[in-house]
Each structure stands twice: as C-alpha cells, then as structure tokens.
Amino acid sequence: MRASQAGPDPGGGGEPDLNWLLDHVARGDQGAFEAVYDRLAGPIYGLICKVVRDPAQSEEVAQEVLLEVWRTASRFDPAKGSAGTWAMMIAHRRAIDRVRSATAELQRDHKTAAASVVPAVDEVAEAVEASLDAERVRRCLNALTDVQRESITLAYYGGYTYREVSGLLDVALGTIKTRIRDGLIRLRDCMGVSW
C-alpha cells in the first residue's frame, strides 16, 4: 500500500512524502506545490536539459511540465507508480515531443549526441539530489553490456526511438528492442527498484 493516506512523514526521515504532498496539491494547496517544486524541479530540469539540450528551451519545457504537475495532480494514482516517476514520465514525454518535432526542421548531430548521452562525472557531481543516488545509477549503468548501456542512454537521455537507436548503433532492430528490455531489467534489479 502506498502512503498517500498516511501522514506527511510516514518514514520519519524529516522529508514529507511526495504522494502525500501531491494529494494536497490536487486540492489546490499552493504551499504543498512549492514543496513539490523543491523536490522535483532539479530532476525535471536536469532530465529535460539532457534531452532538449538548449538551456532556454529546456527552461521553457520545465515550466510547462511543472505546471502540468499542478494542473493534473488529481489524476495521479499512487496505485500505478510513485509520484516522482509520474512527474518524470510527464517531463520525459514533453522533452521528447519537443525534440522530435524539432528534428524535422533541424537535423541533430547524431555523433555528438551519442558521445554526450552518458552522464559525465562532473555533470552528475553538480546534481541537486544526493549524489549517492547518481553514483548508484552510474555504477549500475556501467555494469551493463555496451549495447545495453548505449541503447538505453540514447533512448532515454537522447530521446531517440529504438528504431533510430538501431540505426545509430548499426544493430538489428529486434536486438535493440531486447537489449533495451534486458538492460532495463538489470538496472531495475541493480538499483533495487521494487514495484
């Protein structure tokens, strides 16, 4: 059972539970929304920068996403996933919508993209969230095979479809599809995600 009906701090760790906060946001509580902003703006903005790259556009998309969190908080269902993940899904979809519509006009440089999608150490070091999390993610990413890691980072951080990833890495479509899935399953287990 998730903790949306529990108190603000079911774990006793000092930080209000995101589900609980969202529940209040859904009822128009602007103070709760500010707390949600403080928790999620960093990961949302970081993810969008990764996919969109242009800082001005990233900021614009981040604003849209955060406003979407406010607007649709009542539609968040804790039975379907965590609040953080729900927000990241909105952010990722908005970011790739932006780059996919832009690709038609502006051909992105695939080689640069491929080289820059794995989070660099210094970049992650400036992360807002405790860098322990980032460290763990990086360690788990490094434990994957090259094809698994590259296809996941190209797809997620690069915003490419698996067909595009298949073309970029010159690996058969079916193989990419299964490498992405196998790799994500390994990441899930490595990071101890339980759902």
Partner: protein
C-alpha cells in the same frame, strides 16, 4: 499470433523509455490492457527510468520557481477523473431481502457486505448463477454474519448458511500483495483442510465475495498467503482463523 504477442511483450523496455513512435505506442497500450504481466513489468521499468532522471538532476535557474508558482496560482486544476471512479450502484433486488433475513441487528453488517458486493457489480452481472447462489446464502434461514480482524490488518467477513453447507467470504483492508502472491481461503476441518478458492483482487480495498460450498460441522475458516495460483494445502501461518459454528 504467438510470435506477434512475444514481439509486443519485448517492447516493454522501449515503451518505458518512450522510445517508440505514436502508432506503436497506441498498439502497445492496447496490448497492455490485456496483458497483466506486461503491465506489471512496465511499472517496474518506469520506476527504473525515473531513477535515470534523478541521476542527471541539475539546479534549475532561480527565476524558474517564481514563474512556475505564479503560473500555478492563475491556472485552474483538473478535477479527479470521473470515469475511473464509478459510483457504486446500491439497490439490487436482493438487498431488502438480505436486510430482512438478518433482522435489525444484522442490518449494518449486511449493508457493509452489500457495499462490498455491489462494488463487484460487473463480475456479478456476468455470473448470474453465482449471484443467485450468493443471494441464496444471504437469505438462507438462520444465516449468520461474522467478522474478525486478521493478524496483518484488515478484516474478514463471513456469511454462513449452515443449512446449505455454504458460506460467503469477503475481506476489507488487507495489505496488497505482490503479483507473485495471493490470499487463499480454506475450510479447516478436524479431518482435513480443503481449499475454498483464491480471494479475488481487491477493488477499493474490498475483495469481491467468494462463495465456498461443502461446509462441514466443525469447520473453521482460514486465510493464508500463498504463491500465485494457490496451493493444495496451506504453506504459511494463517492470517485469520474463524470458528463458524
């Protein structure tokens, strides 16, 4: 056809990363509605993708916060999705009969059970035979209703119709189990313990009624947590045991 299904299933990863085009996403989402294991896998992979986002967090420009909060203050929020929370329809024909059968003291309990039953309206509509059997138990002369707490939280409620050797079981507020586990109902008699079926997944915290027949003198009702699919004999300590005599 099998190949196609398998093919769709391996898309869970690409779907969780939004790495598919719109047409394929629509097709896969239709598949998700019918494929519970895929849906479960997608949730875990979505959570995993969320961690990838946290790993690249960055301090946003300071002016962003002010702009977002100001925009929120003048933006109307969506109401909760109405379609996803259907109002339970009370007023099935057996309800008054149930209430009468239980007499005044049992009315409140009957209403609780009726609510549980009505939330299972759809299943009942497609299983009229079972509906009839359940009504028969509820209205049987001398039917009794018993409720007890489980050791893991929540309650189990039994309506016993000894004359028909049948009972109905529903539970409320049981902890949600992982997909790999189920709650199993048992008739535990002095000679032996028999499975009475698996509790249906809870809707709004309540399980749909489970009808058990073949009740014998001296039987108790028990619930255990078992691997998905159930077992022939209990393999864990019961979370609930109720005497029904």
């Amino acid at each position: 056809m099998k190949l196609l299904r398998h093919d769709l299933h391996t898309l869970t990863g690409a779907y969780a990363l939004d790495a598919i085009d719109d047409a394929e996403r629509d097709r896969f989402e239709r598949h998700l509605h019918r494929c519970q294991p895929c849906d479960h896998e997608v949730r875990g992979l979505h959570e995993t993708a969320g961690r990838l986002a946290v790993a690249v967090a960055r301090v946003p420009p300071p002016q962003l916060k002010e702009r977002v909060l100001a925009a929120a203050a003048r933006t109307r929020q969506l109401p909760p999705a109405a379609a996803e929370r259907p109002q339970p329809k009370i007023g099935r024909s057996w309800l008054p009969r149930v209430a009468m059968a239980f007499g005044a003291a049992g009315v409140a309990a009957a209403l609780v059970l009726a609510f549980a039953l009505s939330s299972a309206q759809r299943q009942l509509d497609t299983a009229r035979a079972q509906d009839k059997a359940i009504s028969a138990v509820l209205t049987a002369p001398g039917a009794r209703i018993l409720t007890a707490r489980t050791t893991v939280g929540g309650t189990g409620t039994v309506v016993v119709a000894s004359s028909q050797k049948k009972l109905i079981f529903t539970a409320a507020g049981l902890p949600q189990l992982s997909a790999a586990k189920v709650y199993q109902l048992w008739l535990m008699g002095p000679p032996r313990t028999r499975s009475a079926g698996l509790l249906p997944a809870a809707a709004e915290g309540r399980t749909a009624p489970l009808l058990a027949s073949g009740l014998q003198a001296g039987d108790r009702v028990g619930v255990t947590v078992e691997p998905a699919g159930g077992t022939s004999q209990p393999t864990t300590t019961p979370i609930l045991v109720m005497s029904v005599r």
